[in-house]
Symmetry: C2
DNA sequence: GTAACTGCAAAATATTTGCATCCTT
DNA sequence: AAGGATGCAAATATTTTGCAGTTAC
C-alpha cells in the first residue's frame, strides 16, 4: 500500500484514542464521534492504524476488538506481548504495562505472538461494591 | 435453567468434538455434520455445553470462538487457565496442556480467568515448508 | 493531477430470537 | 403430560465491498 495521508478524520479518531485510558472498540469510537463521521470510515481508519503499527488490537473475552495506542512500544519493539486486562463488570479493557515471557513450547512449535488477557474486577468496580 | 436432556443431536456434536484433536469453531462443526442438523441448533448446543462446563471456549486472534472438550479439567478445577496455541498458517487451535501461573496484578485488581493464546507455526506446517 | 480517503448504499457474515412442533424424561 | 430441544423463518448485529465524489500531497 502506498503512503498514507493525514486527514481530519484520522486526527479525530486519534484524539479520541489519545484521550482514553482504556482500549476502545469500534463502537466506543463511533459513539464518541456521534455523527461526525461514517461508521465504515472508522473501520478503515482503525484497520489502517493497525497496519501502520500505531495501535494494538486486543481481542476481549467475547471476541470483540479493542484498539489502543501503542504507548509502550518503540519502533523496533512492537510485538504485542504485554498483558491486557478486562473487567468482567464494566467491560473496560486496558494494557498492564507488563511483558509476558516467551513460554517454553513443545518440540516443533515456533512462537510469533502472545496474547495474554486477564479477566477480573478492576479497582473502580471493586470500590463500587463496598 | 432446568436440567438438560440427552439428545441425539447433542451426541452427534459431542462425537465430532471428541474425534478432533483441536478446538473447533461453530462452522467446523456445521461442516462436519453437513446437513445433519440446523446451524441454530449447533449454536445452542455449544452454548449449552459451555454453560455446563463440558467444553472450553477459546477466542482466537481474529476473535472467533473455538470449542474444545475439557480434557484436562476436573469438576473442581475447571478454570480455563491453560495455554492455547493457534497456527498462523493452518489456523488450527489447540490446547497446550500447560497451566499459566497467576500473574502479579497491580493493587486493587482481582483475577478471575486467564486467557493465554500463543500464535506461531505448528509442527505440521513447519514440515510443509521444508 | 493523481491516488488515497470518505460517505453512502448494499452485500456478505455472524449470531440471536420467536414460535410451532417434536421428543426426552 | 410437561417442559426442554429442534428446525425453520426472520430479526439483529457486525464487518466488508463497490463506487462516485472529495481532498491531501
Amino acid at each position: 500500500m502506498a503512503k498514507k495521508r493525514n486527514t481530519k478524520t484520522k486526527e479525530l479518531v486519534w484524539k479520541v484514542m489519545e484521550n482514553s485510558e482504556s482500549a476502545l472498540t469500534h463502537d466506543d469510537i463511533t459513539q464518541s464521534l456521534r455523527g461526525e463521521m461514517d461508521r465504515v470510515t472508522i473501520y478503515r481508519i482503525l484497520q489502517g492504524f493497525e497496519e501502520e503499527g500505531l495501535v494494538h488490537k486486543v481481542i476481549d473475552s467475547a471476541g470483540k476488538s479493542h484498539y489502543a495506542i501503542c504507548r509502550h512500544c518503540t519502533e523496533h519493539h512492537h510485538h504485542d506481548n504485554h498483558m491486557h486486562f478486562q473487567c468482567v463488570t464494566c467491560g473496560v479493557v486496558n494494557c498492564l504495562d507488563k511483558e509476558v515471557r516467551k513460554p517454553n513450547m513443545p518440540e516443533g512449535y515456533t512462537v510469533e505472538e502472545i496474547n495474554y488477557l486477564v479477566t477480573g474486577c478492576c479497582p473502580d468496580c471493586r470500590d463500587d461494591k463496598d
